[in-house]
Amino acid sequence: MLRYVVKRLLLMIPVIVGISFILFVIMDLTPGDPARSLLGEYARQEDVDALREEWGLNDPFAVRYGRYLASAIRGDFGKSYRTNIPVVQEIISRYPATMKVATLAILFAMAIGIPVGIISAVKQYSLVDFGSMATALLFTSVPPFWLGLMLILIFSLMLRLLPSVGTDSWKSFIMPAAALAAAQMATMTRMTRSTMLEVIRQDYIRTAKAKGASQRYVVLKHALRNALLPVVTVVGIGFGNLLGGSLIIENVFGISGLGTLMVNAVKSKDSPMLIASVMFAALVGGLVNLAVDVLYTYIDPRVRSQYVKG
């Protein structure tokens, strides 16, 4: 198992390097001069040239990329062109907000999506089933920014219960997390329902029922564990995405997270910031996926046995 984890971690290195290379190429090929962008339209050409020289932008691509990689290996990912602050420092200062919102969102989604999915499967074609599926469809369809604005309208403007902007207290995270959770929740409900429906028709479920256990016991004890595997995958993918930051929700709720940082970096052609933040998001995504794979082994003895054999 440990060997597998180490192997997966090592495999992430070429992925991260590949991402940095692709982003370097994209930022190099797209028009727009970061020095001009920062200095403003009235800047003297000699000042623009001097800043380009200072940032090493006049060197050939290979030299610049090689220099970047060499610094990155030493842990120096450069300074932001916009703020002149080391990019790692910027990411560290912004990431907690993204992580809090993402974690809360995934918890909301799991707490509601999985139980509702189970109930829908068990009560297939009932009113509850139709209601939950309709709600899931609605949550999948509505854009998160709209949902965010509606939540602000209700809970901030009308009911005066929650602050609409910032991250000053724990209350500040409820609405952004709920807005982000909606789509994840809908996916989890549908996924749990469909996998549960498959599992509860298996022979071993019939056997369990024949032994005299009630349907609820059978569902929660025997069926759910087997149905959870695809759900865990969905949770993992969803959590990985959320940890990459959500620009729209961050913009609506005035949260300073990774999404905003990345988009500001794109707008100002702030390559060091963009590359480092995307690499960071990729790293987090990779680690979450690895965690999901490891979790499989605890949920499903069949998967665990493969690693033991290996």
């Binding site: 339209e41 809970f155 602050p163 256990a213």
Partner: protein, 534 residues
């Protein structure tokens, strides 16, 4: 050991409670959506919980639309950064709400006979936020640092150097006499900073600034909020508003709701004017308007392409219906402009008439230029509503005279690279903005031949000897009447040669709770909070 029946009852209990919880949450969510769909306008009653920022009447919470890049006044050209700088730093001069220029960190100034040197008597006893007293050395250092910076050239390009005359006197030497120089010294790009602190660590200064302005930086949550507090030793007396909280809210709709709910006291409304009615109709809010410090215009590439032919430029000028353009582009929230300057500048020739709207003549000009069947042109514009929407209206207007415009929206940086700096465009829609209230700032950089060919901001490639002469004389003359005459002639040349087509000036807006006093829509975006009170 527990049997299946006992386990079953436990599970039954769990399922029951889970079911109750799920139903409750689902009901809440559905009810929320229903309420949202049914809700109309809401009026604030009490502020929401969770955003207590100290005693309300001591504090202003305002909105910023973008994150602060730096607090170094010499390290940014960003107008959003500068809005905070105007609260932290003071300069030698200050612009009062009525537009007049008054001494700030100086008590007196005197021009030499040739007008290319100004001697300032610095104000005594001015303290920086760290308690140090401002000296002549600080002033000289600050001005020379501003002059050397690549970020400040908009206002420092005519300055040569600053010199200390004695402990109370500083001399600013210009490259040549420059009429609007005092206005330049208002800019936060010419802020006075303590030499010792700035020199010790420039990067640290950008994060922890020390100025002589009315507010000190207290707290920064990058990308989220900036908190300033009043400086008790400010030389004009402590500001009436003790705390200033700046919240970064990018989304216009979210910002409006925060203002309506009482979480914000002040905000820059949407520049698309979409929230205007909601604010005006709210009895607790006030919507402030002023003319923008810019003129939106149709620009031509005067160097290459079809618009090197004056007849085509004139055809465009005669085919533009400004009122219709304003209605379609900005919902009528603009004022038509016929002269090629910014209307709020003191030198603007009010009553000036541009070329008459005449579709028949415009059609004939297109035919005369050799296009009896019309022609196709591309309009490259910045991909933002304030450029693309007018472009669409212009597209419809020019189609009437046989000019088929293909609009090519480009990301702002790309547009600057390709069109503005690279000169690769046929026509565009742009705004000439000014940072100092003087016609020089909307004319010389954009129209003088020395700024063409990639050397400056003359992105239209205009080279007209008479226009050059007017602009040169207007910027160096110390006689205001003479300057106005030169600018009037410049406007006539722009119109007669159809060098570009001035269209309109928009509205700068601000929204605030009605109890907040001293608020104005500031065309210069300085928003001195020192003038505000509850």
């Amino acid at each position: 050991m527990t049997g299946p029946r006992q386990q079953d009852s436990k599970f039954r209990e769990r399922v029951k409670s889970m079911k109750r919880l799920t139903s409750l949450v689902a009901a809440l969510l559905i009810m929320s959506l229903f309420l949202a769909a049914c809700s109309g306008g809401a009026t604030p009653e009490t502020p929401p919980t969770g955003l207590e920022e100290g005693p309300k009447k001591d504090t202003i919470v305002e909105r910023a639309v973008a994150d602060q890049q730096t607090f170094d006044p010499f390290g940014t050209a960003d107008i959003n950064d500068q809005r905070i700088h105007y609260q932290i730093f003071d300069s030698l001069m200050r612009q009062e709400p009525d537009g007049s220029l008054v001494p700030a960190l100086c008590t007196d100034y005197k021009f030499n006979e040739t007008g290319d040197e100004i001697t300032f008597t610095i104000r005594e006893g001015v303290k920086f936020h760290n308690g140090d007293v401002m000296t002549a050395d600080d002033v000289v250092f600050s001005l020379n640092t501003a002059i050397a910076s690549g970020f400040t050239s908009k206002v420092t390009s005519t300055m040569d150097r600053a010199e200390k005359v004695d402990d109370k006197t500083v001399k600013l030497i210009l490259k040549y006499p420059f009429a609007p120089i005092l206005g330049c010294l208002v800019s936060s790009s010419c802020a006075i900073v303590p030499q010792k602190v700035y020199e010790a660590d420039k990067d640290a200064f950008g994060r922890n600034p020390v100025g002589a302005g009315p507010y000190m930086l207290k707290e920064v949550k990058p990308g989220e909020k900036i908190v300033l507090e009043a400086f008790s030793d400010y030389y004009r007396g402590e500001a009436p508003i003790k705390n200033l909280v700046v919240r970064i809210i990018v989304d216009d709709a979210a910002a409006l709701m925060a203002l309506e709910s009482g979480e914000l006291d002040l905000m820059q409304p949407s520049q698309a004017y979409t929230d205007r009615d909601a604010i005006i109709n709210n009895p607790n809010l006030v919507y402030y308007e002023a003319e923008q410090a810019c003129t939106f215009l149709v620009a031509f590439n005067n160097v290459k392409g079809v618009f090197t032919d004056k007849r085509l430029r004139e055809a465009v000028a005669r085919a533009i219906d400004r009122e219709e353009l304003i209605l379609g582009a900005v919902n009528g929230m603009a004022t038509p402009v016929e002269a090629g300057l910014v209307p709020i500048t003191p030198q603007y020739p009010h009553g000036f008439k541009g070329l008459e709207y005449d579709l028949e003549k415009a059609k004939q000009l297109v035919i005369d230029a050799g296009y009896p069947n019309g022609l196709d042109v591309t309009m490259r514009v910045i991909a933002a509503a304030n450029y693309t929407k007018p472009a669409e209206v212009l597209q419809a207007q020019l189609k009437k005279i046989g000019i088929n415009v293909k609009i090519e929206p480009m990301e702002r940086g790309t547009w600057f690279d390709v069109a503005y700096a690279g000169g690769d465009y046929e026509m565009t829609f742009y705004a000439h903005a000014i940072s100092v209230n003087d016609a020089d700032f909307c004319s010389y950089p954009f129209l003088h031949s020395s700024e063409a060919d990639g050397k400056g901001n003359n992105y239209m490639g205009i080279k007209n000897a008479e226009l050059d002469e007017c602009l040169e004389k207007a910027r160096t003359s110390q006689d205001e009447a003479e300057r106005k005459a030169y600018y009037l002639r410049a406007c006539e040349i722009i119109r007669d040669e159809s060098l570009f087509v001035p269209c309109y000036t928009g509205r700068r807006t601000m929204a605030a709770v009605k109890e907040l006093k001293g608020v104005q829509a500031d065309p210069w975006m300085r928003y001195y909070k020192y003038n505000y009170s509850w």
